[in-house]
Amino acid sequence: MAAFELITRKSSSAPRSRRGPVSWLSVLTLAALVALVLSGCERSTTAPPKPENPSRSGGATTVFDTSDKAYSLPAANIPITKRDRFFVGNAFFKQPWVIAPASTDARDGLGPMYNTNTCQGCHIKDGRGHAPVGPNADSVSLLIRLSIPPTKQTRGDLGKFGAIPHPLYGGQLQDRAIPGVTPEGRVEVTYTEHAVTLADASVVKLRKPRFEIKDWGYGAPGDELMISARVAPPMIGLGLLEAIPEQAIRKGADPDDADGDGISGRVNTVWDFDRDQTAMGRYGWKAGQPSVRQQTTAAFAGDMGLTSSRFPEDDCRPVQEACLQAASGGTPEVSDAILDEVVFYAEHVAVPARRFDKPKQQAQGEALFKASGCAGCHTPKFVTGEHKDAPYLSGQTITPYTDLLLHDMGEELADHRPEFSASGSEWRTPPLWGIGLAKTVSSKATFLHDGRARTLLEAILWHGGEARPARDSVVQMSRAEREALLAFLNSL
């Protein structure tokens, strides 16, 4: 046991070797070094800058990891003295929340009904979730939103909640529950495949999912039920998106397609519970949430059954008696102090840099991306404004490849479930930054709101509505052009 007894020593009394007499050479070296330091010259570390597509997709917050940790790093410009907040928040994001009561009293209160017990379980390694591979496969990283059409009496609730919750099941199917409480149901997915032939005669198989809910726990849901499947999105760059000035986003909006380019672009106007007023929606597949903070509290409440000062009630419906009677993990279950750390973490997950490993092909792909009209919605560049809670995110030139606006994506992608001002066929343009590392981070990652696309090419081919012309031009591309386009996307 002696080997791990403490080594107690006063550091200053231990011997140190010192350098011998000064040589002229080292004086000169020192002088040169001093000159270097005084001139403020730091060794240049980046490739020659490309004016339109800098490698630093997230400005000074950008990180350069290309491993499976690429989505899990703090913004690079957070000083080391502030990084503990990121790692503390991250721990609460990763570690399981437990059923109350528990000795872990700051992290109990899971459920009574929920989808999963960790954030990381859906945002896999801070990246995307995925659609279940088949009927009985795990569907943890995908959830089903529920609602019914508004009536005259309930229409007024739309302004705050965006959709009318189902009277028996609420706004989201919770397929897990603590012991003694019946889960709301179980998701089953089946796929039908069809082939798309491209102009160069190559064939791509697309799979269309059909989501069914089995084993309803609280009776038949009725004919009015509307459902929408949603896969967990990646966590990168969320604070930067929050810091984009509202006017800059509005500038891209063209609700009535006044410029006649076939692309509308609408702002989703949603409810901000923190300010008790309407706000611009930025997060979620239909931009139903205005801020990282509200998105976080809503996910704690809906996905994990955890109350917060913002949403102090568990999501139990009147018929769900066992749910209403279950033990609480505290009032609220997620304290403001812990919430603050998780929000800090969620705002500061860094975006990985672009990789220029095939510069010529990627440049060609980028030109094709623009020529095909993709950049009409996937807006390459923004400059962030002042973010008062997150100074490291302010004033950054970023390349998210999103306009954060709603677009009609056509019948094939439609969920026919409106959310605030988003129609049943409108979706918010998802950011493309970091997308080339999606499968490095999680090999199972899938794309689009319900995870139907297994590859980026499949995702492109599902684009319809306003994006149909862009999609068609990709179909018409030669193999080399298509590969260049994908090489560009994979460089992001």
Partner: protein, 433 residues
């Protein structure tokens, strides 16, 4: 001029030149250049990983002794060897942050926290990440695994198979290798919550006899004990392989290893930045933040670092001692010898004597406060009790250690500016290694 007068003039000239030289050169012991400090840092890294490797060999010997002759006594020896192996390894963690190849390698060696149900039996109260298909795989009981549609043949528990099982199914909580997997195999789950006591795995879990073999309190098929023996040996062998690799990265006089590139190719400022970033990151983000503050505010033993063995106090202390080692340019090896040379402290003293003394004081305070946790454990109150929600005195001790680490990180950041590192940030694309 007479010969004697000429000699006097030459002598005077020599004196003047000497005086000039003295005047031109900085005061005190002479100026400190970054390069020897960088070289000494690499020397320390090599020594601490070499010690970690030696200690892992001792652990392997103790594991072999235990599995060949399972008894309460041989199990205690294996546990003691594990604790001893943590002493140099925890002092090496300061090299993990800032040096990309170390950070990339670390997951297989020290990943934490883990869903231990992947490895072996667990209590019904076991909490794991839902959706993690492997969280209840129980490799000891299952020669074949079905994980998320993937079938894994685990008939032979080899080092390679264990390494491949890390993060299987995409969950970071699936950790099949490294110190904490071995810790779990030696101790089992600590089911005492925030009360006294560590894991209490009985030695009979390793008895290759159908009459005796157990899964904890229950009788078990002898294959479980056989597989546990195989697992423990494979995991220890893998640890040795991994540490050999890391010793190789830092070995002196190798043409193209990481050390050669670090010492010879990196611009001095970049090497210093990695050194200081490693010290600051370990102090604040990792140690004060993820390993202490989370456990404290959640009052959660699930967030305790060495949770099976209740060795957390030592892990934390030696982590901090590693930071002090780098600052002082010295490391006391397991054989008692001292590796010592030009240090970050020398460099800082040269540019700001006061700042160096203040960093030194912050370092000492952090070590003293972490030592409080060690002393508390010696008196029977371990880290998992100190963080319990009813233990105000214990909470205060942990909070004091966190606060002093925060202070230390601030001093390290200030020191960086003083030695010419304007941005203390992680590595960027400029350097491929």
């Amino acid at each position: 001029m007479p010969k004697s007068a000429r000699l006097v003039v030459i002598g005077l000239c020599a004196l003047v030149i000497a005086a000039l030289l003295w005047w031109v050169g900085p005061r005190g012991a002479g100026p400190v250049a970054p390069q020897p400090v960088i070289e000494q840092y690499a020397e320390l890294a090599h020594a601490v990983y070499a010690d970690s490797l030696l200690a892992a060999h001792d652990l392997h010997d103790a594991v072999n002794l235990f599995t060949a002759n399972p008894s309460g006594e041989t199990l205690a020896k294996a546990r003691s060897a594990w604790r001893t192996a943590r002493v140099p390894y925890m002092q090496s963690e300061v090299f993990r942050f800032g040096n990309p190849p170390v950070d990339a390698w670390e997951g297989q060696v020290n990943a934490w926290p883990l869903d231990e149900g992947l490895i072996d039996y667990v209590a019904t109260s076991y909490v794991y990440e839902q959706g993690n298909n492997a969280a209840q795989a129980n490799l000891i009981a299952s020669p074949s695994l079905q994980i998320g549609g993937e079938t894994v043949d685990a008939t032979e528990l080899t080092p390679k198979l264990l390494a491949d099982l890390n993060e299987i199914g995409g969950s970071e909580a699936n950790v099949a290798t490294g110190y904490h997997a071995i810790e779990f195999l030696l101790w089992g789950q600590d089911l005492n919550g925030t009360n006294a006591g560590a894991g209490e795995r009985p030695y009979t879990d390793y008895v290759d006899d159908p009459e005796i073999c157990t899964d904890g309190e229950q009788k078990a098929p002898v294959s479980h004990c056989q597989r546990r023996i195989q697992y423990l040996q494979a995991a220890t062998e893998l640890l040795i392989n991994d540490l050999e690799y890391m010793v190789g990265l830092w070995a002196p006089n190798v043409a193209d290893n990481y050390r050669a590139k670090f010492v010879n190719e990196l611009p001095e400022n970049e090497a210093l930045r990695r050194i200081l970033f490693g010290m600051g990151s370990l102090a604040l983000g990792e140690l004060a933040g993820e390993r202490m503050k989370v456990a404290l505010i959640a009052h959660s033993t699930e967030d305790e670092h060495d949770c099976f063995s209740d060795n957390t106090h030592n892990s934390h202390y030696y982590d901090a001692l590693g930071i002090a080692n780098v600052y002082h340019g010295q490391y006391e090896r397991r054989d008692g010898s001292l590796v010592s040379g030009p240090s970050v402290e020398d460099l800082l003293t040269d540019s700001d004597h006061q700042a160096a003394a203040e960093l030194d004081a912050a370092m000492e305070t952090a070590l003293t406060d972490l030592n409080e946790l060690v002393q508390s454990a010696k008196q029977g109150q371990h880290f998992d009790q100190l963080i319990s929600s009813g233990n105000a005195t214990g909470n205060k001790k942990v909070q004091a250690a966190i606060d002093s680490l925060v202070e230390l990180a601030g001093e390290i950041q200030r020191a960086s500016g003083l030695v010419g590192i304007s941005k203390l940030q992680p590595d960027n694309a400029g350097h491929e290694f």
